[in-house]
Symmetry: C3
Subunit: 324 residues, 3 copies
Amino acid sequence: MSVADLQLDERGQLRHFLTVEGLKRELLESIMNAAESFASVTEQTVKKVPLLRGKTIVNLFFETSTRTRTTFELAAKRLSADVLNVNIATSATSKGESLLDTIRNIEAMHVDMFVVRHAQSGAAHFIARHVAPHISVINAGDGRHAHPTQAMLDVFTIRKHKADFSQLTVAIVGDILHSRVARSEIHALRILGAREIRVVAPRTLLPAGIETLGIKTFHSLDNGLEGADVVIMLRLQRERMNGAFIPSEHEYYACFGLTEARLDRAKPDAIVMHPGPINRGVEIDSKVADGHRSVILQQVTHGISIRMAIMSMAMRRDLGEKPA
Amino acid sequence: MSVADLQLDERGQLRHFLTVEGLKRELLESIMNAAESFASVTEQTVKKVPLLRGKTIVNLFFETSTRTRTTFELAAKRLSADVLNVNIATSATSKGESLLDTIRNIEAMHVDMFVVRHAQSGAAHFIARHVAPHISVINAGDGRHAHPTQAMLDVFTIRKHKADFSQLTVAIVGDILHSRVARSEIHALRILGAREIRVVAPRTLLPAGIETLGIKTFHSLDNGLEGADVVIMLRLQRERMNGAFIPSEHEYYACFGLTEARLDRAKPDAIVMHPGPINRGVEIDSKVADGHRSVILQQVTHGISIRMAIMSMAMRRDLGEKPA
Amino acid sequence: MSVADLQLDERGQLRHFLTVEGLKRELLESIMNAAESFASVTEQTVKKVPLLRGKTIVNLFFETSTRTRTTFELAAKRLSADVLNVNIATSATSKGESLLDTIRNIEAMHVDMFVVRHAQSGAAHFIARHVAPHISVINAGDGRHAHPTQAMLDVFTIRKHKADFSQLTVAIVGDILHSRVARSEIHALRILGAREIRVVAPRTLLPAGIETLGIKTFHSLDNGLEGADVVIMLRLQRERMNGAFIPSEHEYYACFGLTEARLDRAKPDAIVMHPGPINRGVEIDSKVADGHRSVILQQVTHGISIRMAIMSMAMRRDLGEKPA
């Protein structure tokens, strides 16, 4: 069974959300349309809709990520679902229980959705292959592989600012090699028909053979930004950098840090994005991060709406109805 | 005041749930009947009943147990109660506050129920003796003493499969000595009139004088399983085993591990139970754990219904009404 | 902009609650009046009011305090708000993110209130100066500076027992130097017109120049208690005491521990208060803590009502309506 088949039910509707790879453009657009309708909900005084009342959503986090866990928890609560946070690092797996037994046990409690964060690539897929038919799995980041809700909120943010993906040049800058965000963004942008996708990074931070994905590679930031409509800066994972990949943060900033001067190479109305948390003065200058072209905080806001959209669509199967 | 008196109010209704010891058969049956009605709730699309809306339930965990805490939290949320998780290991007691002062303080916040997990036997009883009249205490496991909600979900699971306790031979296999689960199960099975209760364990894992409880002891698994209707495997607490009680896990499995071949000694329609988390290849073979006679995951499901039943019955006193 | 201006909106209504310093008597009284109305809510069977339904309150705790976090969480839930607990010690700030970036990010998720606990004085003020216009900030304790909700629950407790602040002599006993509680209490009592405020402490535990605040200092407990209507004992922060401030706990108790004999110096109807958790036999004798003049547990109960009052008043701005 292909991943695409795994993600969709027999009517072609979203069942799990594991990766954007292999999804159809129409589905991505319907997620963004649903997110649009939820955006208005989060701006109301009473920010709740009863769509998932009585549903139980389990945040199954095998690695700690307060930020991501928080956005999923908020999205679930605004859909009126009950949320259980299970931090597996401190849980039964340390008593020698297998991952599958942990899943089977929580699933036996009649839960409806797992939001999975795991350090290993493919963990969410593995779980999706083994859960009961009525349960949906959302991938909240697995190893270096995928972070599909982040990619969706990114393209949703781009759509808010740029009318037509087919006209866009998007530059993704930084640690492409280790970034599940970059991988997912590239897939989403290709599906939506972006004109040109560029990756900009030192050779040590680019995966081998990435050109075969039909994207352009740059080792010079100035060249990579030239004429770009969208600039996506990646977080430099300091914990992974011990001189093995970059000589020093200082030197990295000198070559690949985004400053206002460098940003002038991009189009005048270019937008600047970053998945957060940002390292000021490492991959991005504060003037850019806080400047008028930055949409970094809008990404956070859109993250709630996108997650509400994906959660409600994946569970709509039972509901037999569309989100409000 | 006897424990039985402590657990029941003046009308003989459940006030606290600390141990099954000393409870009447009728009460155990009414808990199972209530659980039966809640089982249908957890299978509905909207899995909530408003029975405990506005009630505050405090999970007071002096030792970490994600699994048990999760089942109580889910049961409480499905009854629409507000749940507070208080992990005392990281809390005010480390500032030198006494247990009683901690209890008095949380009780002053107008909470309605404490779910207590503690490494010391009798902790839940101690708290029950000292709480304000309107507060109920549920024992979620105290030392080696009792784990009464586990015992109730076990007999509820047995009742789903076997019509008449008076016809049943039940074999409990494993670390009886350290098991609060085994102690509570034995009491529940006796109250419900099980025909024969057996414990099967090496001599080092049996408490002295257990025969006086009217149960049969076996040191051979084959003999202990002969003709059994229900086989309850206990978890081998690896953390307690340092060669003091068993020579090795390997040798333990050779003598007391449940395999399909051994299970053939039991009745053809025997069911296999385990409180979880299971150690595959230590106390139970995967083929048995995942086989058609295993009801291990049903136990987890029933655990939610049983806890909903006990929580709502203990708080019904205020409500002046029965669960739906 | 003065702190008072920061706390109130253009109509003079509460926006943030950072310190009682500089607030008007009328405002303190209206908080207590609102708390009075909420006190009846917490005594009902269904302890919830829908006042903040759909609002998101974030407990932003930079230092762990289960007790304080619990009271705010309960207050928020009884107002029907959604609560997010974010423990920053284990969160993104450890990934090198600045405080301001953390705040901006959570605020972008359309939250409505931050409840802030921080080891550094002024942290809540800093956050209040930088949040978006629709967000309220409540100070849940910042360094040695302020703990205004504790002070409000204290004066609310006093008002329940004593009719007229202008007739009252209040003695605050203990570690004044390190106590944010004492500082906030002194401000609240002065605003409410207490006749005489005394601080009683060894010289090493009194801040320099405290007499200039118009309060009387005593180094003898007997003298300090003479004729007092209210005695507020402070917690001896054992963790701060290494022989630097007091010779020993034993000697401290001999000089400043509150016993029944000493309490006889106060008025016959004097009440005894303590912010908790108490150190029995260090700053207070058990007979006093559990005696009929102790209102220590009432303080805990009133803490919920006061926090419900402050939270709902600070968010009433959006609601355009008064609490029920």
